[in-house]
Amino acid sequence: MALALLASLPAWIGNSYYVNIASQVLLYAVFALGLNVIVGYAGLVSLGHAGLFGIAAYSGAILINGGYGHFLGIVGALAVTLGASALFAVLALRGTGLGFVMITVALGQIVWGVAYRWISLTNGDNGVSIASRPAPFGLSLVDADPFYWATLVVFLVALAAIAVFVASPFGASLRGARDQPRRMNALGYNVWLIRFLAFLFSGLWSGVAGLLFLYYNQFVSPQTVALTASAEVLLMVISGGTATLLGPIAGALLVVVMKNVASAYIERWNFVLGAIFVAIVIFMPEGLVPGSLRLWRWGVRRWRQRLAGPVAMAAVPPGSGGGQ
């Protein structure tokens, strides 16, 4: 049913502005789902994933502008992203915990530095544009609706792939390595390799999302790979709830909608973003999806207790209780 709802979304939204926002939500959901593999299931917080997202977008743009066409552009960009993910992983996995975070920040900043300064390759601050969106099987993706459907297909593939991945024996190994790395080693697992492979998988989906971003905007600039971008997608994962499938999607919805709505009414999006970060960490550290579930269950229990009978109610002074 959710699927039918998602597929028919453009029909009942009508307005292409909102369809585009829906596409943005989906593409960022792919990104957040990919990041969640490493943040949630591997327990390694990366603040450099916008680097991978950006590497995919930039290499796609450069290949397409180099005349290689969309197919080779996409394949090439994903190959480059996987290579970069491998390099990131080898370096970042030298540390765990804080070390890992710091190294990913540094790696992300290198990518940003290259995007910003290596002007002959990346056109610096001006960014790189591409002329067209691809037309798979002869279907043009120029308009908002078909682009939305294409993004939806990619999103569903990503969701299914990640769902299978986390429920697999390898997924169980990954979660084990997150919770008890030493023990997992003693049980015969190669914890380093498990994390390395998970990073590649995470990088791959970040790259896919990066390409969606490139096609959505037909443009990529250093802003795409800035620390703020890494932080935004991390916020999606954390706010929605790490190590859940639904969490990153909810987080992407929240952040994209907030960003578009907030930027329409208030100029201070970054301030709001920062404040949400702080508030979530302090008040709902487990994320919105698990947090809301907890509140919901608590609410239902309270409700049931109130309905449980007049005996319990009798102790409550009139006017203070009841089912509002």
Partner: protein, 285 residues
């Protein structure tokens, strides 16, 4: 560009980085807090300096007052937010990151989007001749300030009771606690000190870097590189690391402008691969 001048600029920039990253290294080493607001505190210090000087304070007074102002803010951040999250590294990363966005946006709102330069104090304008080569006097001054602070910090860490407590906390937090050191108070003191140094550095750096939105994002990775190179919690490591980064950054900008960031980060990556604890950090057992 003149090679001597480039070298002098590198060293001056290294001195500035030391003021910035010494606090970062202490906070990271002692409290295990990856303080991602550190770049923002530097920028905030610089903006405080701008406003204080606009109200008629002299440069040095503005630097001191700005530093103290940032130190107080740092203390508040530690007391009100970070204290609620002991040991929760991910939460600390997120809160400090969130705060850095809020600070950056507030600065943008308060001081606008254009770069603001801070005037060089009159006494240090112009050039000095050292061994027949002309250097900008102010940069020499920054080197002197950095060396003075390094010496003072070193003496504080090695010679005073507070320093002994901080060292004990860096070496073994559990033992320090068991030995009756009031670690929570120590944390606040160190956080204030580190923040204050960053704020002070922001004003001192003003005449060289000027102040602009995004200064925080430019400085934070540099502090990160210094600490990764030098090792967390190591003053000597920060000192050496700062000058290495200063040289790499300036020479990289001048000689290979397109790849300046690669030149800057490559040595850090090499150090990580060869010696993950940093050049001067102690490897954990």
């Amino acid at each position: 560009m003149n090679l001597w001048l480039l070298a002098a600029n590198s060293i001056a920039f290294g001195g500035l980085l030391f003021l910035l990253s010494a606090g970062f290294a202490l906070i990271f080493g002692l409290m295990r807090i990856p303080n991602l607001t550190h770049g923002s505190l530097f920028m905030l210090g610089a903006y405080f300096g701008v406003s204080l000087m606009a109200w008629g304070l002299g440069f040095w007074a503005a630097a001191l007052v700005g530093g103290v102002g940032v130190a107080v803010l740092g203390g508040l951040i530690e007391r009100l937010l970070l204290r609620r999250l002991p040991g929760a590294e991910l939460a600390q990363v997120l809160v400090t990151l969130g705060l850095s966005f809020m600070i950056a946006d507030t600065c943008l709102m308060q001081w606008g989007g254009d770069p603001i330069s801070i005037e060089t104090p009159a006494a240090l304008r112009g050039a000095s001749h050292v061994a027949g080569v002309a250097f900008p006097t102010y940069r020499l001054g920054v080197i002197v300030i950095a060396v003075t602070f390094a010496t003072a910090l070193w003496a504080m860490l090695e010679r005073t009771r507070l320093g002994a407590m901080i060292r004990a906390g860096v070496d073994d937090p559990m033992m320090a606690r068991a030995a009756g050191i009031r670690v929570p108070l120590l944390f606040t003191v160190v956080f204030c000190l580190g923040s204050g140094l960053a704020g002070f550095a922001g004003v001192i750096g003003g005449p060289i870097l000027s102040v602009y939105p995004g200064l925080d994002q430019d400085m934070l990775p540099l502090a990160l590189v210094v600490v990764i190179l030098g090792g967390s919690g190591s003053l000597v490591g920060s000192f050496v690391g700062s000058f290495v980064v200063g040289v790499l950054y300036n020479f990289g900008q001048a000689l290979l402008p397109e790849l300046a960031y690669v030149v800057l980060f490559l040595p850090m990556l090499l150090v990580l691969v060869v010696r993950p604890a940093g050049l001067f950090g102690r490897p954990s057992p």
